[in-house]
Amino acid sequence: MNNKNIWVFCEQRDGVIQDVALELLGVASELAKTTNEKVCALLLGSKIKKQAKELIAYGADQVLVVDHKNLETFVTEPYAQAVTQLAKQYEPSIILFGATSIGRDLAPRLSARLKTGLTADCTKLEADENGNLFMTRPAFGGNLFATIICPDHRPQMSTVRPGVMKKMERDGKRKGEIIECEINFDQSKFAVSVIEEVKACSNVAKIEDAKILVSCGRGIKDITPAFEVAGKLKGTVSASRALVDAGVTAHDRQVGQTGKTVRPDAYLAFGISGAIQHLAGMEESEFIVAVNTDKNAPIFKIANLGIVSDAAAVLKQLNKIIENKPC
């Protein structure tokens, strides 16, 4: 096995690089330090070339660009053909994909085409100096973690959960190589045609993008103060499953195993007890504050600052004092 280098499939939608791509460049850069390899970004799309520099600024040493109208919007087969041809030509050791509805469609198709292993939805990646990848993923509702290896096949492939890995600081001065690649598409395999594409309209600020989350659980009956506090802190409101199931807020805002994974700079949990499924979605947050009346609530085991108090009352008070002293 002479395969070398760590590839990141850089997902874009409408020509916009998705955050998960930058997160993957971040973790790939960490891995590359151990394996002593290059980080290579794969940028596939139409009229996408000019974005390549941005990927270098976030950690890519090399960017392979395929700019073709067949890749304008995501459809499995053209994308699979492009990645397959590049992988056969360059023989990477590792390929990482975001565990999104695109990555989770493309990566398994490729694993069967390239006859190699794939590990889904990883939340931790480590490597040894021989270039072996250790892929850790939650199993059985987050109750158990399994570390998976792919010892005898290359490339080693993994989809990685969005919001878990850390981006590098953007560095516009980083140097890297941009290579434009041509693909021989076999159009006779393009059986699926896109009749229309409709973007969802949602006025909910994405919780996975927020720097500060004011998160509410069962202990909060009225979430209006949470929205006011979040507004003042330039953050947004998220919720535990209990509140979503109760119909208090929409599923877009749910954090946890069956919701979204978030890692804001500050996660302020009000009235959330911290079921393991919830913790799985937010434990990577930089700074966790928990307020709950039950001093035995599991959330206190991971909070950097735990306060035993009436969460609804604290939220109201917080709204008052941030208003009084606009900071």
């Binding site: 995501f74 509805s101 695109i102 989770r104 469609d105 990566a107 398994p108 198709r109 694993s111 069967a112 190699t116 292993g117 794939l118 889904a120 939805d121 199993a139 059985f140 109750n143 158990l144 973690f145 570390t147 998976i148 290896i149 792919c150 005898d152 059986a191 699926v192 045609s193 896109v194 009749i195 229309e196 594409e197 409709v198 973007k199 969802a200 720097k211 802190l233 700079d265 500050a266 434990e283 700074f287 966790i288 504050v289 307020v291 085991k301 909070a303 950097n304 600052l305 735990g306 306060i307 035993v308 108090s309 009352a313 604290v314 109201k316 008070q317 917080l318 004092i321 941030i322 900071c327």
Partner: protein, 261 residues
């Protein structure tokens, strides 16, 4: 038209517990169900059968107990059921599993293959696309709605993404993975429950398929489990009891200290 629906029998994960001593799953007494996305795939196939006419075959791989899941599918109205079962299949990862299932589909023959998007015990969503690749047919994943134009023989699928959906069309063979939110699976009906008793479940073993031993089971699985662990927490922890006024002030101070306000 022949539709094969691939299903999986899974433990009802909401009831799973971990043995704290051995770090293994306590499966005893945990009820088994048809994986929810797969049940939706059965319903999609049955609706298509009602609209255009088709035979619906359910296929699963697993131990003998998986027969129960197939019986339930028959009682919903599926025409025939096959259980892939052999010691040689044990220990297969997703790639090896897809190799076995694809070999069975080749043997049975299918125009359309429906799968659930993912199983609740593994959450990988990998086996469907891998089967499609082995069969060299197109795939459409994350189906939120399916319609079949019986006149033109064209399948039309609403494909869901996080921020959008596509309407896709495909003529000819295709594998579709279905979301559980797509359909409300029908209940078993009395006539089909009575009838399914008379239907045979057929078994498919290694000897029935064109497979190489090195492509299946533990040996045919590129991925291996190196270790498992239960959750570990390693945060610096401080828990204090405060009245709401002091609590709010403490939070504001902590956020200021971190330049967050």
């Amino acid at each position: 038209m022949k539709i094969i629906v691939c299903i999986k029998q899974v433990p009802n994960t909401t009831e799973i517990k971990i043995d704290p001593v051995t770090n293994t799953l306590k499966r005893d007494g945990v009820p088994s169900i048809i994986n929810p996305d797969d049940k939706s795939a059965i319903e999609a196939a049955l609706s298509l059968k009602e609209k255009c006419g088709a035979t619906v075959t359910v296929l699963t791989m697993g131990p003998m107990q998986a027969e129960k899941a197939l019986r339930e599918a028959l009682a919903m109205g599926a025409d025939e059921a096959f259980l892939l079962t052999d010691r040689a299949f044990a220990g297969s990862d997703t790639l090896a599993t897809s190799t076995i299932i694809a070999a069975a589909i080749k043997k049975l023959g299918a125009d359309l293959v429906f799968c659930g998007r993912q199983a609740i015990d593994g959450d990988t969503a990998q086996v469907g696309p891998q089967i499609a690749e082995h069969l060299d047919i197109p795939q459409i994943t994350y189906a939120a709605a399916i319609d079949y134009d019986c006149e033109r023989d064209v399948l039309r699928v609403k494909r869901q993404f996080e921020d959008r959906y596509q309407v896709l069309e495909v003529k000819g063979k295709c594998l579709v993975t279905v979301l559980s939110s797509m359909t409300k699976p029908r209940y078993m009906n009395v006539w089909d429950i009575v009838e399914q008793d008379e239907k045979e479940i057929s078994f498919i073993t290694f000897a029935d398929l064109e497979l190489n031993r090195e492509d299946i089971g533990l040996n045919g699985s590129p991925t291996k489990v190196k270790s498992t662990a239960t959750k570990q927490f390693d945060k610096t922890i401080e828990t204090v009891e405060l009245d709401p006024e002091s609590a709010a002030q403490t939070i504001v101070d902590a956020l200021k200290a971190r330049h967050l306000i």
